[in-house]
């Protein structure tokens, strides 16, 4: 099974018991049993018949607009529901001590990712690592979500400030701007982060966890706020590493971007390059020390969710993922 990324425009429909993509000049059959997720970047027509068919086959569909911003996901009705898990998810949200315990792990692990990334670049002054270490220690001391978020924000600010020393291309990047991104680097960070976010959404769908109950972000913040929480862990180690490689190997250059008055976005050819390496990366495997078997990068996200479930069941305190390579 794989994820399919559709850049063409046309109609995706159910044909017999499978899927077909029709463009102006061709018909491309896509085997339904091979589809894990669908990413739609082009202008696509869908009808309820095909959406019901997606639901039946547990296929998630992620929608992106003309500029490549994620606009939403079709999350089929859950078939894995456990009242026990939902009750415990809520219990750990309502009790601020329990909530903080989980939220801190997300922040701690995110900062750990920043540090591991910085360490790969010897030209960056060690004092930055010391400051980062300070932030992680501080994160563990916070007793409100707001102040924890504050620490995370500070760490992230320093981290982004170091990007010009990591990226070998000449790009203007003063600070992280999201809505909308104002330059090349912001554009690619936004795009890659949305891919990480959807990758987490799809793994949550395969567990009993409810995607709306979250710990670091407020549950009301977005539809899939738990995915935002978990994405914090993987943004630096999956996302940023991908960005550094693409830019430093000059696979992506300014010709892949379009800049309008106040914002910048990846053109289709650029998006395709990112998506291709992202897809390859998620299918990469690595020997898992505890499981003693090979697992893919995307499976590591699932395992993270399992660890959260075990924490909620009070089996093992949750220790968020820290990359060892």
């Amino acid at each position: 099974m794989k994820d399919y990324y559709i850049f063409k425009s046309g109609r995706i429909s159910r044909k017999d018991n499978s899927i077909v993509m029709e463009t102006e000049d061709t018909k491309i059959p896509i085997p339904v049993n091979d589809i894990d997720n669908l990413y739609l970047f082009g202008e696509i027509d869908l009808n309820t018949r095909v959406i019901n068919f997606f639901a039946k086959n547990g296929i998630l569909v992620h929608f992106f607009n003309y500029y490549g911003w994620w606009t939403g996901s079709f999350y089929p009705r859950e078939n894995l529901v456990s009242g026990e898990i939902i009750v415990r998810q809520v219990e750990h949200y309502l009790d601020i001590k329990k909530r903080l315990e989980i939220a801190k792990e997300f922040v701690y692990s995110a900062i750990d990712g920043f540090i591991k990334n910085i360490k790969k670049y010897p030209n960056i002054d060690d004092s930055n690592i010391a400051t980062m270490n300070n932030f992680s220690a501080l994160a563990l001391e916070q007793d409100t979500i707001a102040s924890l978020m504050g620490i995370e924000g500070n760490a992230r600010e320093l981290y982004y400030a170091l990007f010009p020393q990591i990226i070998k291309q000449e790009i203007e990047f003063t600070k992280r701007v999201k809505h909308p991104p104002d330059n090349m680097l912001n554009a690619i960070i936004s795009f890659v982060n949305s891919l990480i976010y959807t990758a987490v959404i799809k793994e949550i769908y395969r567990t009993q966890l409810n995607p709306t109950i979250s710990y670091l972000h407020e549950p009301s913040y977005r539809r899939f706020s738990l995915a935002l929480d978990v994405a914090e862990i993987f943004k630096p180690i999956y996302g940023d590493r991908l960005i550094f490689d693409l830019l430093n190997n000059r696979e992506l250059t300014d010709k892949h971007f379009d800049k309008e008055l106040n914002y910048c976005y990846l053109k289709e050819n650029g998006r395709k390059i990112v998506v291709k390496s992202f897809d390859e990366k998620m299918n990469n495997t690595i020997m898992h020390k505890k499981l003693k078997r090979k697992v893919s990068y995307s499976r590591i996200i699932r395992l993270e969710l399992y660890k959260i479930i075990k924490h909620l069941l009070k089996e093992e305190p949750y220790r968020a993922f820290k990359i060892w390579w």
Binding site: K2, K8, D16, M21, P29, P31, N33, D34, K276
Partner: protein, 93 residues
Amino acid sequence: MYIILVYDIYTETKQGRSRLPKIMKKCREYLHHTQKSVFEGEISEAKLLALKKDVENIINKKEDYVVIYIIENINNIYRENIGIDFDPTDNIL
């Protein structure tokens, strides 16, 4: 695993001709359509078992036959095209 599936359906009879679209549709649920009666793609062991059962139910075992080439390790496949650059297994469309 990765498989290449080819079929030959006996189409001299009306029943045979009606089996042809059936088997094609079934294969399209699991595999990529490479050309006329040739399909290929990555597939799990369980899905292959399901596909084989479905194929058995469609074909006439006295007149038709289906060959499945199985490559256990997907890394052992090297695909080379002569002519039009066409890869039906592409997941970026």
